[in-house]
């Protein structure tokens, strides 16, 4: 079987794990030790593997680095891959998302950053251009900051060039013109923390994912609320029935099969622990109509949360599922969540994981 690479970004560095069977893992020594790693992208398009890492030093700020040799060496664009234009008066605080676009748009990579901004690269992540349409959006002054910061934390490109982004206390926005213009797409998503009926925007969407087969179908884990849209985000309906809680940060979609998604519920916004202190992944195979609780191989006692990017899937067959906790535990499933094995323990808080079957 091919080698699978799992990149684990933590509060204090990046670890790379590799496996031939996705059950037994070899863990690297830390890269960028003492530096926060909130985002990783693994780009395997075109038969080469490029690791892109958004690192952030408390002292020396954020930057994007990349490696084309699986972390043996790292390169950093001298003048910075992501830099706000001078007229914005803004500076990048944190790179939250590095997302390769579709296979037929090689070289295109999207980034989501704090302050709330979306960026597009056409050179494989060496340099990014700010989406002015979102930066200059008239809603900007009313977007808030989630507890983790004001960021475009999810960037989900679709096969037809449509891109959805999500931001905490802003909600979902969609562009169909490559980022020139963006419209809020939150109809049906609750914002219980705001008075009156749910607004056009301002929802606290924690993560979104796109269905692999029907690109107009999306899934969202909200700040209380789990939703599906069958119309490209125009409207959303609840799929939370059957889950122990509608709070959480993770939303994963199967990369090949329609209707299979994973979430990792937490009790509530005021109690951010797994229900009953037991870590569980919940999977639906019918687009959220019903859910199964999956715990085999996961710890019976776990009081740490799984953050929004600390879960991912690979593109293997069957698909691998990965979760990392704020307690520094990382688990992998080689069978779509039916059973998990431990990849790493006692790491710093896991901020993000990304996995890929290497070409």
């Amino acid at each position: 079987m091919a080698t699978t690479l799992l990149a684990i970004g933590t509060r204090k560095g990046l670890w790379l794990a590799t496996s031939e069977d996705r059950r037994s893992w070899s863990l690297s020594s830390p890269h960028f030790l003492m530096t926060e790693v909130p985002s990783v992208g693994i780009d395997t398009r075109g038969g080469r593997t490029r690791l892109m890492v958004g690192v952030r030093s408390e002292h020396f700020g954020p930057t994007v680095v990349h490696s084309d040799d699986l972390g043996v060496t790292w390169d950093e664009p001298e003048h910075g891959a992501i830099r706000f234009p001078a007229d914005t008066g803004a500076a990048v605080e944190r790179i939250w998302q590095l997302q390769p676009d579709a296979a037929d748009r090689p070289g295109v990579v999207w980034a989501g950053c704090e302050p709330i901004s979306v960026w597009r690269s056409e050179d494989g992540g060496d340099s990014f251009t700010l989406s002015r349409g979102l930066w200059d959006h008239p809603h900007r002054m009313k977007w808030g900051a989630g507890y983790g910061g004001a960021a475009a934390h999810s960037v989900v490109p679709g096969p037809d060039g449509t891109v959805h982004v999500a931001m905490s206390t802003g909600g979902v926005y969609r562009t169909t013109d490559g980022g020139g213009s963006w419209r809020p797409r939150n109809s049906g998503i609750s914002a219980y923390f705001m008075p009156g009926p749910a607004p056009e925007f301002g929802q606290c969407v924690h993560k979104i994912a796109r269905d692999a087969v029907d690109p107009r179908r999306l899934y969202a884990q909200n700040h209380h609320g789990v939703y599906r849209s069958d119309d490209d985000g125009d409207s959303w309906t609840s799929i939370a029935d059957g889950l122990p809680s509608d709070f959480g940060f993770v939303m994963l979609a199967h990369p090949h099969r329609s209707g299979t998604i994973w979430v990792v519920p937490l009790v509530a916004d005021g109690e951010r622990i797994p229900p009953d202190g037991e870590l569980a992944v919940h999977r639906s195979d019918d687009a959220g109509s019903s859910w199964r609780r999956l715990t085999d191989g996961l710890p019976a006692h776990e009081y740490n949360a799984v953050l929004r990017d600390a879960a991912c899937v690979d593109a293997g067959d069957p698909v691998g599922v990965y979760v990392g906790t704020r307690g520094g535990e990382v688990y992998a499933s080689a069978d779509e969540g039916e059973s998990f094995s431990t990849v790493a323990s006692h790491l710093p808080d896991v901020l993000c994981v990304r996995a890929a079957v290497l070409p």
Binding site: M34, S57, E58, H59, F60, G61, T63, E76, E78, H79, G80, R83, F84, A86, G89, A90, A91, V92
Partner: protein, 94 residues
Amino acid sequence: MTVQVLLPRLLADCTGGRTSMALDVPAPTTVRALLDVLAAEHPVFGRRVRDETGALRRHVNVYVDGEEVRRLSGLDTPVPADAEVMVVQSVAGG
């Protein structure tokens, strides 16, 4: 005029391994102008110390002859001839 610059060891990989250097710069000069000279030669170092607006990063301190420039005139603080300018990370993190 010549200015002695001391740089943090943590950033030595951005300055060709150097943690001190004597810079010849036109007089008069300021901390900003001095950092511009350093950034032109070592762009990654420049980004580590200042963000893209030109502001000194919050947890980076610059001292001119032992005085922290935020207590003086910030990046506009004059740098006299033969001064010692030290760039150092503050105590932060956990």
